[in-house]
Symmetry: C3
Subunit: 241 residues, 3 copies
C-alpha cells in the first residue's frame, strides 16, 4: 500500500494518466495525478520551471502526502527532482520514466541532442506566445511509434501547448540527484525514440542518479496511451521497495 | 488494406518470404515478394547493384503498384532505397528491416565493420565466379542464433550464392534517404548479430533516415525462418500509417 | 540430451542453481552444479583464481564428463574460461551468462568500471579476512532489480563472503577465448545493471569471444532467483548445437 504521485510530461496534463492511475489503484495503492502549472486549462504559457515545480510541491503538501513514490515522465523528471530537493522527507522513492535527470544548473534543453534543441527554439520563435506545439509527424513517428494511427490521433488531440520557459530555465538544487538519500528507479521504455537512440535516455541520463534500479519494458515514449496496463505494472515494479 | 512489396536480403530469394507474405495477406493486405536479379534460379552472378535495383523497380511498374509499403531486409535496404529514388510517387512508406541505409555514393560494403568487409573480400577471392557463400558456422551462430539446429540447416539449404558486385557497387541517388518525402520505418530485431552489436544496425544506420518510426522485436537476423508470425506482425506495425 | 555444468557467480554456491538445474533436467539433460572452491561451507577465503578453476576442472574429471556445455555466471566466466583452456577436449560449448570473458593476463577486476573496482577494494580493506560482502542496497537495486523485496531478501541470505583473490588474480591461458575451437554463446539479461549499462556486459565483453551466439532475455543479473524457468529456457537455447 503505497502513495503514488504521477507527474506528466510536456504537452500533457494529469488527466491523460487517469487510466494508468486506475490500474495502480486497483492493485491497492493511492494515486494522485496533478497537472503541472502551465499545462492546466487557462494557465498562462509564460510559466517558468520554478513555478512548475512549486505547483507539484504544493499539491504534495496540500494533500499532506508522506512516503510518496514520486514518478515523473519526460519533462516531469525536472519537476520531481525539484520537488524531492524541496521536500526530501516526504518522498520515499523517485521514479524517472523516460525522464530528464538534471543536476543543479541544468535546463531540460541542455540535455537535448543539438538538433532537437534547435527544433524547440525554432518552434518557440514561430508561435511567439511562450509556448511550443509538437508537430503531428514527429509525434506519430518518434513519440508514439508503437500505437495505431487512431490512438496516435486521439492522443494528439489531448495535448496542450507547452510553456517553453519550463524547458529552458536552469534548475537550482541543494543536492544533485546522485546525492539524494532516497530510493531511485529509472523506467526505460526500450522503443522510445523521442530521444534518438544515439543520444539515449538510458544510460546517458539514468547514470546521473547514482545507485538506481532499472526497469525496462517494450514501448514508445507514450506508453500511457499505447499500453496503460504495461505501464502501470512497470511503475509498480519501479516503485516498490 | 495496403500493398506490401517485401524485398529479400543477400543469399535469399522472394520464396523464403512466402510464409510471412501469407500472414500479411491473411490480415487483408496485398503482398508481393519478387526475387532480385542475381538471386533467381539461373541468374548470372555478375549482376551489379543498378541491375538489381532495376529488377525490383520493373516489378513495381509491371504490376502497376501504387501507394506501396516497400520493405527491404538487410541488402534489400540498398535495393528499396534505389527503387524509392526512382519511383517516389509509387511509394507510401519504406520499411528497413535490419537493412542497410545508403547515402548516394555508398556501397553496402562501406557500411560493414572492417573485419566483415575483409571476410567478404576473401570469400569472393576464393570462389572467383563473382559470388560469395556464407559459411554455415557464421550463419548458425550470428545470423540465425534464435532457431534450433534443424531450422538453421533447413534455411541454409534454401540460400543461393550472392553476386558480390551488388555489395561493392556504389549506389547513385538523386536524394539521400533523409531527404525523401516518404514515410520511413526501421524494424530492428534486437538479437540480430549479423552486424556485431559494437557496430549495430540501429541506431548507426537507422539514423540516416531522418525522421523515422522504430519498431523493435526480439529475434535474430533471420526472423523470417525462426518466427514468421512475429515478423509479419512487426512489418505491419512498421508499415501502417 | 546434453551434459550441462552450471558454474555460479561470486557470493553464490551451486545450491542456488538447483531450481534451474531441475528444469533443464526435466527437458532431458544431465546437469551438474558444483560449488567453486572458496565459496563452499568452511572453505578458506584466501583461495585464489587458479585453485578456483582447478576445483571445477576436478569436478569435470571426477565425474568423467564429456561433450560438456559449460556455463558460467558472472565471475563464473573466469572459471569456465580456465577450465576450457585446460580441458578443451571435454567441452562442447561455453555459455557465458552475463559473465566475464578474460584474455590471458587479465583479472576480473581489470574488466570492472573504475568505480566498481574501487568499491571492491574498499570492501576488501574493511573486512581484512580476504573476503568481500555485497551491501544489500547494491544487491537490491543493481543486481536483483526485477524481483520483489521478499525474493531479494531471501536470495541475499543465501550469499556467502567471496574470496577477493579470485577477483584480483590474473588468469593464465594457453589460448584466449576467441582462439578456442569450441562453440561459444553469450546469454545477456537485458536489465542486468550489475555492470552499469555505459560499461555493459554485451557487447563490451562478449566481443572477446570471436564468433559467438547471442541469446538475450529480459531480466536482472540474478534471473536464477527472479525467473528460473526463463533462465533454464535461455541456457538451453544458448547451449544447444
Amino acid at each position: 500500500m503505497s502513495t503514488y504521485v504521477l507527474v506528466h510530461g510536456a504537452w500533457h496534463t494529469g488527466r491523460e494518466l487517469a487510466p494508468v492511475a486506475a490500474l495502480i489503484e486497483a492493485a491497492g495503492h493511492q494515486v494522485f495525478t496533478p497537472t503541472i502549472k502551465g499545462n492546466g486549462a487557462g494557465d498562462a504559457k509564460t510559466v517558468g520551471l520554478a513555478e512548475a515545480i512549486e505547483s507539484i510541491a504544493d499539491s504534495v503538501l496540500e494533500n499532506d502526502l508522506e512516503d510518496v513514490v514520486l514518478a515523473g515522465h519526460s519533462y516531469g523528471g525536472m519537476v520531481i527532482t525539484g520537488v524531492a530537493d524541496e521536500l526530501p522527507d516526504r518522498i520515499r522513492r523517485l521514479v524517472y520514466w523516460n525522464a530528464f535527470v538534471p543536476n543543479s544548473g541544468e535546463s531540460l534543453v541542455d540535455m537535448l541532442p543539438p538538433e532537437l534543441a534547435r527544433l524547440f527554439e525554432s518552434m518557440a520563435a514561430e508561435r511567439r506566445d511562450g509556448s511550443i506545439v509538437l508537430p503531428f509527424p514527429i509525434w506519430r513517428e518518434a513519440f508514439i511509434n508503437d500505437a495505431d494511427l487512431d490512438t496516435a490521433q486521439r492522443a494528439y488531440r489531448a495535448l496542450n501547448p507547452h510553456p517553453i520557459r519550463t524547458l529552458t530555465d536552469k534548475i537550482s538544487l541543494k543536492r544533485n540527484p546522485a546525492e539524494m538519500a532516497l530510493g531511485k528507479s529509472y523506467l526505460n521504455c526500450t522503443d522510445d525514440t523521442s530521444m534518438p537512440h544515439q543520444y539515449p535516455w538510458h544510460p546517458r541520463l539514468s547514470q546521473k542518479l547514482g545507485l538506481f534500479r532499472l526497469v525496462q519494458v517494450p514501448g514508445s515514449h507514450e506508453l500511457c496511451f499505447s499500453n496503460p496496463a504495461r505501464l502501470a505494472r512497470a511503475l509498480m515494479d519501479a516503485g516498490r521497495d
